[in-house]
Amino acid sequence: MKLSDYFDLQTLVKRHGNDKAALRTFGLAHASLFAQPPKLLHVWMREHIRKENDGTTPGEHYARPIADIAFWSNLVACIFGLTAAFALLHYNGKEPVNLLYYLFAAVALPLLTMIGSVAAMVRAMRTHSAMVRFSPAYWLQRILGFLHKEKETRSYRIDPLLGDWIAIRRAQSMGVCYGIGILAGLLVTITLHDVAFVWSTTLAITPDAFERFVKAVAFPWRDWMPQAVPSAELIAQSRYFRLGGEIDPEMVAKAQRLGEWWPFLAMATAVYTIGLRMLLWAVAYVGYAHALRKAVLRIEGVEALLEAMREPTVRTGAEHPNRSVGDSLSHREAEATRAVLKGAYDIVVGWACEKEKLPAVAESVGTSASRYIAIEGSETYEEKRAELQKISGEALFLVKGWEPPISEFADMLEVASEYAEAITVVPVGLPPDYGIADERWLSVWRRWLQMQPIEKTEVI
């Protein structure tokens, strides 16, 4: 993954993250990559990325200033190193060059800042700036936001962790460039000038002690490059005191030897300033790559995207969701006319009811009749019709109030209405008490009957 991919992914997640079915299809085709999410995302991105007219992706376009900044800052660091070297090694022939200055700028200072870098790395690995505005990510985002006015790229975010590592990596590359600059400055100076190096300090350092220091510094190369290790003699000879502005004549006599310091200085620069820093650069690169992978997974929506690829899509619910499934009667509810229950009827018809129970049921609702007929549920259609022909006069139909009225009953009512003068339907309640059914059920029956074109018939 590249940094530009990180930005492009932000767009793509927004654009395609909701098409769960397509994501799952992709996932099924790339199931072998499930254990490597960054790779999975990368392959997915390649399928969806769209190039702009100039052949770059929006992310590449957006990330370009970061590369530009890198280039220019490296250049500046290099020139800075070069200038520093020239300044430090400036030699007008009157006064020798104090190599401690050089060692400070070319070795000690970079070493100190390397410690700073290591501290920054450790910190970046552990936590992230609570003061978000001071994280490099914040400023990077601001700078890039300033450079890009496009709507799409303006919404790009830089993860704080990633921002830290971009900065850390950049610092290391600048450090290397600074080292190269200073080394180049050293080499150019000693080629074009004769420089007399001395060491000079107010501190009570004996040449012996200084030698031990120099040997320690030269430790990495003293075995295979002895010519870059100053001898004890050289060290003793190049101690310099500026007393009275006079140069020790003995020193002048050995001026030619004083130049012999340069291989040591060059090696110190190469090993500490450049070599060590390159090592840090490599570490920073690893840290950066790790942060990039992590940042990619932390993009808003990426987790859901990966889940959509890995987890089966489950669809449940209507096949045709918009088909109207119901035709609710309740909307057509109107005031139904209600029959009044009389004390006696010519005939009581029990619908889906046993004959023996009929008088008792009729009594429970408060009525009676001279004749009772029962239409049993298990009778055939023809049998039921035949029964109904016995009806005459005013009929009372006792029905199970809890059972919904069905068309079959309407058919029967229609037959009955041919023989009866009037029909009253009474839905009854649950056994064993019966009685008139709940108002809730009565209203169902009333509404139902209202919809049926049956003459002479009413529900109580």
């Binding site: 704080p160 619910g317 969701p321 035709d327």
Partner: protein
């Protein structure tokens, strides 16, 4: 592989066929009503995993003229092995006859191969008028089971069991108004027993359904965690020109802040409803109440959109960079070393420059301004209140049957979390609340473990009932 099974849910009108389909298909758009004859056409509710159909439920209208249909079927003598054909012939013959519209609708899927799920209401007495329809179903010879659904409190289940056993081998009870996970699974298992050709498909459905349920729980937990953490870190601010903010501006800001928190909560609830496939809930609930004394606001001066503290720090960083050299140019982390002196210098300079620059006017506008900020929430109780409400909502929604159509009354009892979570759970969440308040990287991690913890709690509750 066998064709995915279909199950026609059939029965008398108004016995909860649509309610059962609605609950099993987790679809709250199915027309369920106490008006008999609500369902007029059959309609399919497939369960698909990765685009593969595992089974289909078919909602159907109820029988309207079973006795007459049976009479037509019986008109000619028909040996048992020809009965399926006879029913099919009936369907074909009366396809366009409005008299049998409902029977045609419900028999069509069956003659096309669907299994039969015969629904009765166990809270009403059995009656012989049911025999005609059961006989018609027996004529089809399709695999079948009976489901006893008790709509009311009264209980006639035993009579029903005796009556049904003459027609059905598998008899189960099911309550569509209780979206119980275990009951749902058990029903799928029973459906698997109806025909061995369907077993594999339904076993897979059970696995997928289980995995899906866990995912729903996970998403709910994540939604709660995200909302709590975002609400804790949320701030609202206004830029004001004058030095002294007037009270009305402050009140307005506070209202805006409260409104945002309420919106966050409402948004989370909608999301949870969506996770659980509840798209049309009618609910009555009270809104998140926020006491004014819990809220916090502060005023600070700003320059270029940065507060003085930030400007001073930026100055210090810049100074530090100057002092310590190139290495620090991009770092901002490492202000120690030689940079300290530079930092102090830079910081001091920035402090004073802030005053000066703030007063400079460009085109009549001062560079500096004041910002009034409301939030983040300081109340110790707030995350609890929010968690309480969201957890309650999740529990209610996750156990809400899709067959329910009445208004849902949501009254989170303030001690819900306490009753619901064990002491150790609460302690743990409390620690995480504290971490989440920091709104930094650690807070993000805390949010993840918060979600993980809630997920376990919800799983414990929701997968066992």
């Amino acid at each position: 592989m066998n064709k995915a099974p279909a199950f026609a849910v059939v029965g008398h009108p108004n016995k909860g066929k649509s309610a059962i389909v609605s609950a099993l298909a987790m679809d709250d758009t199915v027309a369920v009503s106490d008006v008999p004859g609500t369902t007029k056409r059959h309609s399919a509710y497939p369960f698909e995993v990765d685009g593969t159909r595992l089974y289909t439920l078919i909602d159907t209208p109820g029988f309207q003229r079973p006795a007459e249909v049976l009479e037509i079927l019986r008109k000619e003598p028909c040996p048992a092995d020809k009965r399926f054909e006879a029913v099919r012939a009936f369907v074909r013959r009366y396809k366009d006859n409005p008299r049998f519209a409902d029977e045609i609708e419900l028999l069509t899927p069956i003659v096309e191969g669907a299994g039969i799920v015969y629904v009765v209401d166990g809270s009403k007495p059995y009656g012989s008028e049911y025999e005609a329809e059961m006989e018609i179903l027996r004529w089809t010879g399709q695999p079948s089971m009976a489901l006893i659904n008790r709509i009311d409190e009264s209980d006639f289940t035993d009579a029903w069991r005796r009556a049904l056993s003459g027609y059905f081998h598998i008899i189960r009870t099911f309550d569509p108004m209780q979206a119980h996970y275990t009951q749902h699974l058990a029903l799928l298992e029973s459906m698997a027993q109806m025909d061995e050709r369907w077993t594999a498909s339904l076993k897979r459905s059970v696995e997928s359904f289980t995995a899906y349920r866990k995912r729903q729980i996970k998403h709910s937990a994540e939604t709660i965690a995200r909302t709590v953490s975002e609400a804790l870190c949320h701030t609202e601010s206004v830029t004001i020109a004058a030095d002294v903010p007037d009270e009305s501006q402050k009140t307005m800001l506070m209202e805006r802040y409260k409104e945002s928190l309420r919106n966050m909560e409402a948004h989370a609830k909608t999301k949870i409803e969506k996770i659980w496939h509840h798209s049309r809930i009618q609910k009555s609930e009270d809104t998140l109440s926020l006491q004014n004394d819990d809220l916090f606001s502060e005023k600070s001066a700003e320059l270029f959109g940065l507060t003085r503290k930030e400007i001073v720090t930026a100055g210090a960083v810049t100074g530090g960079i100057g002092g310590a050299g190139i290495d620090l140019l991009f770092l901002g982390h490492t202000m120690f070393l030689g940079g300290i002196v530079g930092a102090i210098g830079g910081g001091t300079a920035a402090y004073f420059a802030f005053e000066k620059l703030s007063d400079i006017e460009i085109l009549g506008r001062k560079l500096g301004s004041y910002t009034m900020r409301a939030g983040p929430m300081k109340s110790r109780n707030f995350p609890y209140v929010l968690l309480n409400r969201l957890l309650y909502h999740t529990m209610r929604i996750a156990t809400l049957s899709h067959a329910k159509r009445e208004t849902l009354h949501l009254q989170p009892d303030t001690r819900f979390v306490e009753r619901y979570l064990e002491e150790s759970d609460r302690k743990h969440l409390e620690t995480l609340h504290r971490k989440m308040r920091k709104c930094d990287e650690e807070a993000q991690k805390a949010r993840l473990s918060y979600a993980e913890h809630l997920k376990r709690v919800l799983e414990r509750k929701l997968l066992s009932q």
